[in-house]
Symmetry: C2
Subunit: 199 residues, 2 copies
Amino acid sequence: MINIDKMNIAEPYNMFRKYYEEAKKKEQKIIEAISISSYDKKNSIVDSRFVNLKYVINDEWIFFSNYNSPKSKQFKSHDQISAVIYWNSINVQIRMKAKIQKTNSEFSNEHFQSRDMTKNLLAILSRQSEPMSSYDDFLKNYEKDLSLKFENVTRPEYWGGFSFSPYYFEFWEGHNSRVNKRKFYELKNQEWKSGFLQP
Amino acid sequence: MINIDKMNIAEPYNMFRKYYEEAKKKEQKIIEAISISSYDKKNSIVDSRFVNLKYVINDEWIFFSNYNSPKSKQFKSHDQISAVIYWNSINVQIRMKAKIQKTNSEFSNEHFQSRDMTKNLLAILSRQSEPMSSYDDFLKNYEKDLSLKFENVTRPEYWGGFSFSPYYFEFWEGHNSRVNKRKFYELKNQEWKSGFLQP
């Protein structure tokens, strides 16, 4: 699930809400999966991965990550990203372009404290995306640490939220006829302009 | 469905085949959906969209598009892309990095001839991703043209295949414990080197 209680009410956000409710009704699996694509400027390489979208608050789309991970470094060197959601239950994709930044530390603290301890221990232990010799050894160590039953774990500085505010949306509806319906919204001078794209 | 009859048999490809069969067994919806991310060098912008993966032949991953579309222009200016598949039925994502190029025209012709006429007519009529004033007008015109029953339609030059050959794979398995299993393969001197990444 994505927390959209405090989401913006501009037109593209209402469109998002409509599809989100439809996908929920169709019991969309892992509805919060979103692909985030970034640019590694140093090596001139595009990189992508799925993350879990946790909140949309006003116009900020928020997920959490290790701040030392490759994607965090990529956001730092090139702060523009693209994001895509594809809900196969309703055959709809939602494409966005945005600038990305860290959330403030109070927000990251709050979210960290709301999570269960086992997840937080993992956030602390993992040097996300660094190579390791064995998956099984990592799992064993993690389970050993878990058994120590940590309490009052505080958020480490290297873990927190990222927030992006889209300046472009495309809502793509797949149709059986292949004449797919594609509506876009573009933010210009703080107003959303919309139109259709050829299929 | 993706046609993988003539797929490579190196280790990452066998891994792909294993997950593909698992996802098929779980009746994964729209199993061929793959996100392709590209870099628009002129505007320094990362862009992403889902397409339908049609074939994996040896180490070439193939989909089809309009050659005048924004993505085609992006591939021309920056031929490195990232690709991600996420199969929610088995909670697995497959991340790839690759160089992309057009398939040869014989291959595009063959595939075009194998498709049904209604799809081909659309490929001819659509100036993909260009703005248009009305979706309904486009649909009406398309349906009018369809009723003329075109025969022996030949592939227009502005439509054809793209093929990418990954030099990097990551197979990401989501686990309930959150200790996700991440195995990567990297092509070095024509050999696949593998290892695990921290969750």
